[in-house]
């Protein structure tokens, strides 16, 4: 990759990635450990003619980015656990109205205020199930500063193409960690925009799916006057509670994800001859897992590794393959066991699954994982 080399913090890389993807609106609220995303964009967005606004609360921040997206601006907000809990209401609104937007959650520890300055990975189930009602969930979990940049770009791309919110799940460690990254030249990474209508305005039906499951979206102010509502609606966008219309619409929202796995799913799957132990790890815990796998190999224990980069939808297929080969799958995560349930669910008893769990504010060390590998090998 050619481009400009910088030494960036994860949160800065996220903000820079957003600008690269074409983000022109940020609505936020101060919260540790995500605030640097806001601070960076408060400096940089006006330089490109975009807008930054610090809203009165997290709920308003989420609302503001949906409003801006309806005007056609790619929009971002960033927060951490307590703020994420507050944003969920309007994330659901973006799901049902199909308004593209990207939400960054730099995860910290604990329920409630918890450990504001400590890392955690305990919002991964919230990213999928947090909002009330059934809705599609897409969450990306990068593990390095460069990957935060690239995955932020991909989060915008997926959000735009599928017209759905995308959550970028990082954590305090990689959010605040600094590494050298390359900001690619303009044009080097593909940038996708939402589909927009080309029909005459009087023929525009905002949720008309006769030409595909992702209907074109008109910008407010562009001459296509349409109605946006969080109520279940028909193709015209107006409220309906007709069972024959509600069910297929809700199913279509889910199908936007399940029928587009080729652009959403992303993972690393590294295999070693004779491995009887596998690891599934994501985000900063994946870095510890990598180190542990190297140390285990030095001791003569080969270990397979799956690193989901897209957490939701979860990469079931490679996990099933892993389960068919190894006896035990180790799932290290900075929570008391969340993705481990998903691993168990998709492998349906093909292998034993054990966790390595820490919620004390310190990261899971390679040594923590190595001990578990030795124990199960």
């Amino acid at each position: 990759m050619s481009g400009k080399e910088v030494f960036y913090q994860g949160n800065e890389a996220c903000a820079e990635g957003a600008l690269y993807a074409g983000c022109r609106f940020f609505g936020g609220y101060p919260i540790t450990p995500s605030t640097e995303v806001a601070e960076f964009l408060s400096r940089r967005l006006p330089r490109v003619g975009g807008a930054f606004i610090q809203m009165e609360d997290e709920i308003a921040a989420m609302a503001s980015i949906i409003g801006a997206s309806l005007v056609g601006k790619k929009s971002l907000t960033a927060t951490s656990g307590p703020g994420m809990s507050l944003k969920l209401e309007n994330i659901g609104f973006a799901c049902i109205t199909e308004v593209p937007c990207v939400i960054v959650n730099v995860m910290r520890g604990g329920p409630s205020t918890g450990l504001p300055t400590g890392p955690g990975q305990s919002d991964v189930m919230q990213a999928k199930w947090g909002t009330h009602g059934d809705h599609p969930a897409i969450a990306l979990a990068p593990a390095s500063v460069q990957e935060i940049f690239n995955e932020t770009v991909r989060a915008f791309n997926i959000s735009e193409r599928l017209r759905t919110p995308v959550i970028l799940l990082t954590d305090e460690i990689i959010g605040h960690m600094r590494e050298k990254i390359t900001i690619p030249e303009k044009g080097e990474l593909e940038i996708w925009d939402r589909p927009r209508p080309d029909c005459p305005p009087e023929e525009y039906l905002p949720y008309d799916t006769s030409k595909g499951i992702i209907p074109p979206m008109a910008d407010f102010g562009s001459g296509y006057r349409w109605h946006v509502t969080g109520l279940n609606h028909d193709a015209s966008g107006f409220p309906t509670n007709k069972p024959s219309l509600v069910q297929p619409e809700e199913e279509r929202l889910m199908a936007k994800v399940t029928e587009n796995l080729d652009i959403i799913e992303k993972y690393e799957h590294l295999t070693k001859d004779g491995a009887k132990v596998g690891i599934v790890a994501y985000g900063s815990s994946a870095r510890s897992a990598n180190a542990a796998i190297r140390l285990a190999l030095e001791e003569g224990i080969p270990v397979d590794f799956i690193r989901p980069i897209t957490l939701w939808p979860y990469p079931s297929q490679p996990t099933i393959e892993m389960a068919e080969k190894v006896d035990t799958i180790v799932v290290p995560e900075m929570n008391l066991g969340q993705m481990i349930d998903e691993v168990q669910r998709c492998i349906e008893g093909r292998a034993k699954v054990v966790g390595v769990n820490r919620v004390d504010g310190d990261p899971i060390t390679p040594e923590n994982i190595l001990e578990k590998i030795r124990e199960v090998a």
């Binding site: 606004i53 809203m55 609302a63 601006k73 102010g221 006057r225 349409w226």
Partner: protein
């Protein structure tokens, strides 16, 4: 010639959900006439609402319309306006939506002085959910959740808006529909945050419970119990205390939020 509302209504979206006797239609029509009076371009106008009876209004009118979550209309509208300050943005909200669950957004939109016109359909009750007391239900009144009388005290929307920094603040009533229309029109043309406290009525869930008479009686009540702020000057303090004041309470010129942000953009681009 009678006013042609059809020009602004979406065909096929009526009947509305409002009860017979509900005064929300009068506020809606006042908004439409105000928009017509000001001459807003339908394509360049966005009407935003939250949840509740009043918040169903955008669905009936032919603009860019955004029916959001409970209380959040101003927060969505702030995103819309800042993303494209050339759009005309109007918010409609009930008293519970605007001032209880949306109270924080309300005061902060006022504080920013962002160019949004907020019309509060103030009928002193949560109507859609069946008549629970709201932040503007008077002390002592009955609601489904104040069976012994309301222990809370009500917000004065005008005082609240002025205290929070809105630069156009008025109060009208559904009895005085023409002045209400004029206030809304002035609020739209005013550059900055405008709040119009539109006093209206809910005979179904508030009037009946508090024995306020028929829908018509409730509207006529405004005739006898409100007084314009100019006329109020001629009343004794005792007489004035009995009345609800109406009219334009504030019309100040102060830099508007998006204009201020444009200065930041110009500064940042120069840097």
């Amino acid at each position: 010639m009678a006013f042609d509302y059809d020009k602004y209504m979406r065909p096929g979206k009526l009947p509305h959900i409002w009860c017979p006797g509900c005064a929300h239609g009068i506020v809606m029509k006042s908004i439409i006439r105000a928009i017509d009076r000001v001459g807003l371009d339908k394509d360049r106008t966005v009407i935003v609402s939250g949840i509740g009876c009043a918040s169903r209004m955008p669905g009936y009118v032919d603009f860019n319309t955004l029916h959001t979550t409970h209380g959040r209309s101003l927060a969505f509208a702030t995103g819309v306006k800042l993303a494209d300050p050339s759009l005309n943005v109007i918010c409609v909200a009930g008293d519970g939506d605007a001032l209880a669950i949306g109270g924080n957004h309300f005061i902060h939109a006022c504080r920013r002085n962002i160019d949004i016109t907020m019309v509060v359909f103030n009928n002193n009750i949560y109507g859609m959910t069946g008549g629970q007391f709201s932040p503007t239900t008077p002390h002592g009144k009955l609601a489904s959740t104040t069976p012994y009388g309301n222990p809370d005290y009500a917000f004065d929307v005008v005082e609240l808006s002025m205290g929070a920094g809105a630069t156009y603040v008025s109060r009208g009533t559904v009895y005085h529909a023409v002045p209400l229309e004029r206030q809304i029109a002035d609020g739209i043309t005013h550059k900055g945050m405008s709040v119009i406290d539109a006093l209206c009525t809910c005979p179904t869930t508030y009037g009946r419970r508090n024995k306020l008479g028929s829908a018509t009686d409730m509207i006529l009540w405004f005739k006898d119990n409100t007084v314009g702020i100019k006329a109020a000057e001629r009343l004794s303090p005792e007489e004035r205390a009995e009345k609800i004041l109406t009219g334009v309470f504030r019309q100040d010129i102060k830099p508007e939020y998006c204009e201020e942000y444009q200065k930041i953009i110009d500064m940042a681009k120069g840097a």
